[in-house]
């Protein structure tokens, strides 16, 4: 399998507290802080973390919706972060995005046909069979009635709207799709429909997915590999089987134990993390997770643990990695 997308040492910071036009900002939010990843073609990479960990920013920098502060995003060997003009427009055909909220990501004044066909207009593509025919094909592909071409978004339910968003992302026949929490705004029974649809489309069209979510149980159903993020950094990355059966980083252990168990007879040992995620403006020294970690020692405060390979399929950034879930 070849690499479809490679992210090398990517940084994204946002200035905060700027008082006047020429003044210096008071600080920076380190949203993405030195992330390296690669996605093989036809593979799904899950990115998991809590709000504020930088997972959505990472997705947006990958698609160049936000410019990177430093680092590279390589798409077939071309750096997306440095691309401009016509080159960038061409690159965008290969990488598309599905958004979280199916209500705010569709223009309420445009018909479904116009929404789904818009990427073709922007990229000035005229399919042989005509744009309308192509849009109707796309609607059928995602399980919508092609006759609904002239309807407006408000006539559809949340799940159907998310299907419209998926059809739009497929219009340019991309190779990679970044899905940012595509099901978290939907009802449970509809979530399952959309997750299954995404899996079917992947097989049919040989797509690579970057699946961003906060819920480890959703990610398990779609991902081949999972990366766990905390305060802008990847703390653990492994193949799905490996991560769920053999988690090593204490944060991953805590996230896994926090997933509610849909079985009243089963009692799971729960790791209750104290406190909240620290501010990304002024992250803790050394290991960023140490303020909430039960394994933390002085070493963790002084030295930042690098992301190291512990087996062929598993990387972890922790001084004391290990599966023992018991905090003292």
């Amino acid at each position: 399998m070849s690499e479809a997308l490679e992210v090398k040492n990517l940084f994204k910071t946002f200035p905060v507290g700027k008082k006047g036009l020429f003044s210096k900002p008071a600080g920076y939010v380190h949203a993405v802080d030195g992330v390296s990843l690669s996605i093989k073609s036809g593979e799904t990479l899950g990115i998991v973390g809590e709000s504020g960990c930088g997972k959505s920013t990472l997705g947006r920098v990958m698609t160049h919706l936000l410019p990177a502060t430093d680092g590279q995003v390589l798409l077939n060997g071309v750096d997306v972060t440095r691309a401009k003009g016509e080159e960038l427009q061409k690159l965008r055909r290969t990488i598309q995005m599905i958004f979280q909220d199916p209500y705010s990501s569709l223009n309420p004044r445009h018909t479904v046909g116009r929404i789904v066909g818009m990427p073709l207009v922007v990229q000035n593509i005229n399919p042989a069979q005509g744009r309308k025919k192509r849009v109707q094909e796309l609607l059928e592909l995602v399980g919508l009635n092609p006759e609904h071409y002239n309807r407006y978004p408000h006539e559809f339910s949340g799940g159907q709207r998310q299907r419209i968003g998926i059809a739009r992302s497929l219009a340019l026949e991309p190779k990679i799709i970044i899905a940012d929490e595509p099901v978290s705004a939907l009802d449970v029974s509809i979530q399952a429909q959309i997750l299954n649809l995404l899996q079917d489309l992947q097989k049919q069209l040989d797509l690579s997915y970057v699946f961003i979510a906060h819920d480890l149980s959703v990610v398990k159903h779609v991902s081949d590999r999972v990366a766990v993020m905390y305060l802008g950094k990847i703390v653990e990355e492994a193949g799905s089987e490996e991560l769920y059966s053999n988690p090593m980083h204490p944060y991953t252990l805590a996230l896994l134990s926090a997933v509610p168990e849909p079985n009243p007879e089963k009692v799971r040992q729960r790791i209750l993390l104290t406190g909240d995620v620290p501010s990304p403006i002024n992250p803790p020294s050394g290991c960023r997770f140490r303020t909430r970690c039960w394994r933390a020692t002085e070493l963790c405060a002084t030295t930042e643990p690098p992301l190291v390979q512990i087996s062929s399929n598993h990387k972890v950034a922790c001084h004391f990695p290990g599966p023992t879930p018991l905090p003292n």
């Binding site: 809590e50 449970v188 899996q199 398990k220 159903h221 996230l255 509610p260 849909p262």
Partner: protein, 339 residues
């Protein structure tokens, strides 16, 4: 068995809109015992939040049609005077809403907002008394450094801490019933675990009855004693928590359970789904409202399309389904068809 603290009988709520009548709650009956945690489960538009508003006596505007009875310790809330209901609200029944940011006023210190709930029902309390009470309840819900945090504003708190503030407001008058409407949906998983833990502890120590409204069956499994499943404004199943998960007696509950994700499933395992979408409340299907999405209607026949099933007993639970007892056993034994 302790006695019922709240009894809801034949509650119907509809709204007049420009598109027609929206039947949000249709002939709903249930009760809750002292110290019990009741879960109300359903998808968006199933009427669970409207039910909560009705119990709180908040459905008073002109376009609401309300009928039936809601009795809190023999006090009838439906049709009661606003001034009477106001005495109960915040003292006997309290509510925690989904979004902690929008349920707090950004302009007031949190101490003032928590204290207001106490002062309203204790008009004679002195300032010092109120402040002490606020600090006490803040400690109870696990807000650290309560003595100094009492003078902070909502924006100085994180999402989880804000939800603790909202819970403190609800608990300051030791309510008999706490209604929690999706209390953890807006929170991160690790924070959700903290808040659920807190609610469980508080429930045990104070013996408050809780109505937990949620769409997340995982949360239900961890928290509640009994479950009321709603679909299109009607109760479709009322059952004990263990029965809901081991042997549900309504196809919709069965479908919801199959769609639940668990960490126990295999990597990239496909989920069973319920086909179709929940109906519009302007245009509820004839007969059983669930019939267009129900796989098992073929076992019953046309009855599902014409006759509304009434809630009746099967085993220890109640179900509103035309399936016979043997059919339901068969439903729970068979593999579900993957749509």
């Amino acid at each position: 068995m302790s006695k019922n603290i709240l009894e809801v009988n034949n509650l119907c709520v509809s709204f007049n809109t420009s598109d027609g009548q929206v039947h949000a709650v249709d002939n709903l009956s249930f009760n809750i015992r002292a110290g019990e945690v009741l879960g109300i489960v359903g998808e968006s538009g199933s009427g669970k939040s409207v039910t909560a508003s009705a119990i709180m006596g908040l459905l008073t505007s002109g376009n609401v049609n309300l009928s039936g009875s809601i009795k809190l310790n023999d006090f009838e809330i439906v049709g009661a005077k606003d001034s009477e209901v106001r005495k109960l609200r915040g003292s006997d029944i309290a509510m925690v809403f989904q979004d902690p940011l929008s349920s707090l006023n950004p302009y007031y210190k949190i101490g003032v907002q928590i204290g207001e709930a106490y002062e309203t029902h204790h008009p004679d309390a002195s300032k010092a008394e109120v402040r002490n009470k606020v600090i006490e309840v803040m400690k109870k819900v696990g807000i650290p450094e309560a003595e100094t945090r009492i003078d902070s504003y909502p924006h100085e708190f994180s999402g989880g801490m804000r939800q603790r503030v909202v819970i403190a407001i609800a608990l300051i008058n030791d309510p008999k019933i706490l209604i929690a409407d999706e209390p953890t949906t807006a929170l991160d998983v690790t924070v959700q675990a903290q808040i659920l833990d807190l609610m469980r502890d508080l429930q045990k120590t104070s013996n408050t009855s809780i109505i937990l409204i949620t769409h997340d069956l995982g949360v239900v499994a961890e928290m509640v004693d009994r479950v009321l499943v709603m679909y299109a404004g009607r109760a479709v199943e009322v059952n004990d928590i263990k029965a809901i998960f081991s042997a549900p007696i309504h196809p919709y509950t069965r479908g919801l359970l199959n769609a639940v994700r668990s960490l126990d499933s295999a990597v990239r395992e496909k989920l069973a789904t319920i086909p179709g979408t929940p109906p519009s409340l302007l245009n509820i299907p004839q007969g059983c409202a669930f019939n267009p999405r129900c796989f098992y209607k073929q076992w019953v026949g046309d009855k599902c399309l014409v006759q509304k099933p009434e809630l009746h007993e099967i085993g220890n639970g109640l179900t509103a389904c035309h399936l016979s007892k043997t059919d339901i056993e068969r439903m729970n034994k068979d593999e579900l068809p993957v749509a």
